[in-house]
């Protein structure tokens, strides 16, 4: 049996090598992304020359139009474990996978252990979705019907000039419940690691609150879960199609200069229970 000190040394070695591996993976992904951008630019340039003009895509034109003021907020799908952030409000009506999955099964008469297997099935599907294990946030109910919802991603709202924020209002329908939190970087103290700020279907974050969060984590995090209404619906109809579950999150940002930005993020599930988000503004 190892001594405590020996175990600590082994753990630190493993942690360091995993961090190094993750850093290398990130660099590799960065290089791939950079190369992809270069190729995409070359392709656009060649294509434009080929059709004898510049790109005329309306969405692109309106997004870059001088008449349209640039958006001050970045709305992102983020993952704390992989430290990834994908901006979703650069184009309207873009659908992105959200790294969430829903499962509902009739588990009447099952033992606790068998119901746990249902949860493992959910994890297995999440692993398939990501291609590897990840940091999950699972919530579930184990009664006659077992309903689990697992997420790894969350929405993040980032406004780079926190002083410009008067308030942020976030709401969803009664299909869901949203939690607004900060997600400090590893290195903060444990009790400060994730600080749930507010929970409900209608939340307002004041400018002062946003500034405090921004200093720690550069944006607020919005996590979404199934409401009791939906879990109750599964309790009575375990076979309800997963694609019938949907929600709409409205994010309104009021700035101190009187301007405002509104975003709507529609959450929907496919028949397999995989969650995706579509942003419109």
């Amino acid at each position: 049996m190892k001594t405590d000190r020996e175990m600590a040394n082994d753990i630190l070695c493993k942690v360091n090598s995993m961090k190094e591996e993750r850093r290398m993976m990130k660099n590799r992904m960065g290089r791939v992304a950079a190369l992809s951008c270069v190729f995409a630019l070359i392709f656009v340039a060649v294509f434009s020359l080929f059709i004898g003009g510049t790109t005329t895509d309306e969405k692109f034109a309106s997004a870059t139009s001088e008449n349209t003021p640039p958006k001050k907020a970045f709305l992102m799908v983020a993952n704390a474990a992989y430290e990834t952030e994908t901006v979703i409000n650069k184009d309207a009506d873009v659908t992105l996978p959200m790294g969430g999955i829903l499962i509902a099964k009739d588990t009447k008469g099952m033992t606790f252990s068998e119901k746990d297997t249902v949860m493992l099935e959910l994890k297995e599907r999440l692993i398939q979705l990501y291609g590897k294990d990840c940091d999950w946030h699972l919530r579930g109910i184990q009664e006659d019907t077992t309903v689990y919802f697992g997420t790894a991603d969350y929405l993040k709202v980032k406004i780079e000039n926190p002083d410009s924020v008067d308030k942020i209002s976030i709401s969803c329908t009664d299909s869901g419940i949203i939690t607004v939190s900060d997600k400090s970087k590893l290195g903060g103290s444990l009790s400060e690691y994730i600080k749930t700020i507010k929970q409900g279907t209608s939340i307002t974050v004041t400018g002062k609150e946003y500034t405090e969060i921004y200093e720690k984590t550069d944006g607020i995090c919005i996590e979404w879960f199934l409401s009791e209404i939906i879990t109750d619906a599964f309790m009575t109809s375990p076979d309800m199609p997963l694609s019938e579950v949907e929600d709409e999150i409205t994010i309104s940002i009021n700035y101190t200069d009187g301007s405002a930005e509104d975003y709507t993020v529609s959450f929907s599930f496919n028949d397999e229970g995989m969650l995706s988000a579509k942003c419109s503004f």
Partner: protein, 185 residues
């Protein structure tokens, strides 16, 4: 704030000795608990180490409502369940290692469970269902409350109470079969 939380905070601030404190404080209990899930002490030792690695490498979702110990045991349980999923038939031990494993188990029990009565309970736990063993280990050996156990097992408090009640009944029957005088805690 429990001791683990303050040690973890110091570790995050760069004090590596704090990790030794965490290990020293929780290692044997966590290993005993993981053993109640995987029923293999040698695997439980590896998974205990893996749990500590996860504690440090991941961005763990610690809730302010749960103590550090509850949080650590939740990670431990998930690690054990992952292992169970990947190894549904458990790990086979080569016959020439069986004696070593038995000696290691004895060493572990001597270190962690010194009390004779607790030893008898621990032995009885081995012959009851894994779910019952799991919840009773958390309740009797790790001194968690029903609320804390419900967080670790991701069950409602009501379900946890029912599970604990049935588990106690099963353990009581087992102990009575072995002429052990059972007292309600």
């Amino acid at each position: 704030m429990d001791i683990g939380e303050s040690s973890y905070r110091r570790f995050l601030e760069g004090d590596e000795d704090a990790l030794v404190e965490i290990i020293s404080q929780y290692r044997l209990g966590l290993q005993n608990y993981i053993n109640s899930v995987v029923n293999n002490l040698s695997v439980a030792e590896d998974l205990t180490e893996e749990t500590f690695v996860k504690l440090l490498i991941k961005k763990p979702k610690h809730k302010n409502t749960a103590s550090f110990k509850t949080w650590l045991y939740t990670i431990g349980r998930n690690t054990a369940l992952d292992w169970m999923r990947k190894n549904p038939h458990g790990r086979e031990i080569p016959i020439d290692e069986i004696m070593n494993v038995a000696a290691e188990e004895e060493q572990f029990l001597q270190l962690y469970i010194k009390d004779e009565e607790k030893r008898a309970v621990h032995d009885a736990l081995e012959s009851i269902s894994p779910d019952y063993r799991n919840v009773l280990t958390l309740f009797y050996f790790e001194d968690f409350t029903v609320e804390e156990i419900s967080k670790i097992l991701k069950k409602s408090k009501k379900n946890t109470s029912v599970l604990l009640h049935r588990a106690r009944k099963s353990l009581k029957n087992k102990l009575e079969e072995e002429d052990f005088i059972y007292e309600n805690r």
